[in-house]
Amino acid sequence: MHLEDLLPSAEPVRFVAADGTETAAPAGHRRPADDRLVEAYRRMVLGRRFDTQATALTRQGRLAVYPSSRGQEACQIAAVLALRDDDWLFPTYRDSVALIARGLDPAEVLTLLRGDWHCGYDPAATRVAPQCTPLATQTIHAVGLAEAMRRKGEDGVVLALIGDGGTSEGDFHEALNFAAVRRAPVVFFIQNNGYAISVPLARQSAAPALAYKGIGYGISSEQVDGNDLLAVLSVLTTAVEHARSGRGPYLVEAHTYRMEAHTNADDATRYRDEDEVTRWAAADPLARLRTYLMNRGLIDDEAVRTAEAEAETFAEQVRTALNADVTADPRTLFDHVFAERTAQLREQRAQLVAELDAGEA
């Protein structure tokens, strides 16, 4: 392994400039096939609409809370497109759009945020781990799962998502090290959106770029323009192939931006000014991809309208799905603590049931 392979490019990989014009192709990186790009656009439109819809639903009290990924759609969609259906995805609370792009049921994806019983979807069936809140803890789970797949003779890859703030946690360090030492087929994908709630990257790390962490573990690394779908998809595809071919883990950092506040409950004006947000708005990943595809004649106004209409229908479905009130039966609280209820849980459940029957609780 040469040192060069372990260090990222000096500048983030980029295929398309903020204004949608194609830049000089970055050395050693393949531009994704056109059909993949068109498909990516479709899903980005859908993802963007889903995200704004979810944020709207918090105002109507339909969702307890929602962490938006608006502005990060290039990362969300590329992460999914880079994977096969039998690969695993380890998302955080912020990656609902990726789950939608992977085809999960929106109502299920939002189950937890509706305040209902946990996680909603079936992780085993969808090969998507429960969205993880304790920061960085999922990255080491990803390594264990990748090893389990290898042991079962599967050639699956695991893609673990993490934010810039999460990279400061000890578990991220331990995960990178375990993956490298065990040559696990894991791609660690950092969505560096500039903030950990209110804390800017400068207070989080003094590294030239987070992608420079890879070499300290012997992990191949790259950094990309996180708002350029072509760049993110190209690099993640390379990373996934690298991992699948048995050459060990790969670390990718995407430079992007969180357009909304941390969640609907957060007040971003307390720690960042509007100009910054406006500057990043000009680098919007969706507009950028649309202009690029238009320029290359890969889509036309008609295609755009279709995609947007499709997204509207989807948003409509989400609204209706979430209109139904969550009905949670407290008796189920005791059903999944253990495979079988312990004597203590049987006792406690009996007390609750008695209360419910007496109409007390």
Partner: protein, 337 residues
């Protein structure tokens, strides 16, 4: 007398402590410009500057370990753990260093630090945001554990904790952050840290509660009074060191005791209290010491937290089971088991 919330009282305590003592430093995740997700550190960076109140990298073990080093160097760190479950990464630093440093250096190095932990539920938080973790700390020798239940206590107990020469895990009941009271913080009437307080006197049963369950115990006492049962409510305030005197004096008078805790019951602080009470007041007890606690399950999702949490009804049910008719209650003597 000014009206304020518990959150504002905590903020005032931090502000006054920083004003009085240069060595008091406040840091953690989002405690700077944002003022903390619960706004407990609101305005501190503006008032005292980045040097005194600042955001750290996102790493709880690092935050506490960094505080350990600062304390070794003579500072008084006050760190915020954003939510109860997010203090777990710091458990080794807390159990192996914060709690033991004085002991393993024969007091050559001390740990005058405060670890603030917003804890427990009742606020509709999603998973990992509503754990009750006080027992982990209370069981660890070398740590003091404090939890306020009133606006006034929030101010004075935090001041005491910061002034204390030893490490204090300061458990803040999230659901009481927005509770209001009219208080005068210029003169102190609150008892010192280490002492429990009788919040309501009664004659029939002693309710022992702390943090989030104190207001609940008071409501229960009110309801019981209507039924002609007189409940005494003891707010423990400090779990470590434990004030045996106040609680035992009460139980020896009432002869009956119910402990109310929000945390899952098994091996929790309520178990310690029940064990102590019967050890020390056995011959004054007319009935077993009963516990009203959360179930032994992971904290439930928002839509289901109500049935998990102690309620006035459960407290009154427990009181009813205290055999005022001197007939043994078979429901809990386990003959059924």
């Amino acid at each position: 007398m000014t009206e304020m919330t518990m959150a504002q009282a905590l903020n005032a305590a931090l502000c006054d402590a920083m004003g009085d003592d240069e060595s008091v430093l406040v840091f953690g995740e989002d405690v700077g410009p944002l003022g903390g997700v619960f706004r407990i550190t609101d305005g501190l960076t503006r008032k005292f500057g980045e040097e005194r109140c600042f955001d750290t990298p996102l790493a709880e073990s690092g935050i506490v370990g960094f505080a350990v080093g600062l304390a070794m160097g003579g500072m008084r760190p006050v760190v915020e753990m954003q939510f109860d479950a997010f203090a777990y990464p710091a458990f080794e630093q807390i159990a192996s260093h914060v709690a033991k440093m004085r002991n393993r250096t024969r007091s050559a190095l001390t740990m005058p630090m405060v670890i603030r932990v917003p804890f427990a539920g009742g606020i509709g938080g999603v998973e990992h945001h509503c754990d009750s973790s006080e027992a982990y700390y209370a069981h660890t020798p070398g740590l003091k554990v404090v939890t306020p239940a009133t606006v006034e206590d929030a101010y004075w107990l935090l001041r005491d904790a910061i002034a204390d020469p030893d490490p204090v895990v300061f458990m803040e009941p999230k659901r009481l952050y927005w509770s209001k009271d009219r208080v005068d913080l210029t003169t102190r009437s609150a008892a010192p840290m280490g002492e429990a307080a009788v919040r309501r006197s009664g004659t029939d049963v002693t309710l022992a509660a702390y943090g989030p369950t104190v207001p609940l115990a008071l409501q229960a006492a009110e309801a019981a009074a209507a039924e002609g049962i007189s409940l005494e409510v003891v707010d423990l305030r400090t779990l470590v060191p434990f004030d045996d005197e106040t609680l035992m004096r009460s139980v020896r008078r009432t002869g009956r005791c119910v402990v109310v805790q929000e945390a899952q019951g098994f091996a929790g602080v309520a178990a310690e209290i029940a064990a102590r009470v019967q050890e020390r007041c056995f011959h004054s007890l007319a009935a077993p010491v009963l516990r009203v606690t959360g179930y032994d399950i992971p904290y439930p999702p928002p839509k289901m937290e109500h049935p998990h949490l102690p309620t006035v009804d459960r407290i009154l049910d427990a009181v009813d089971r205290l055999q005022f008719d001197d007939e043994p209650d078979l429901r809990h003597t386990g003959t059924a088991a």
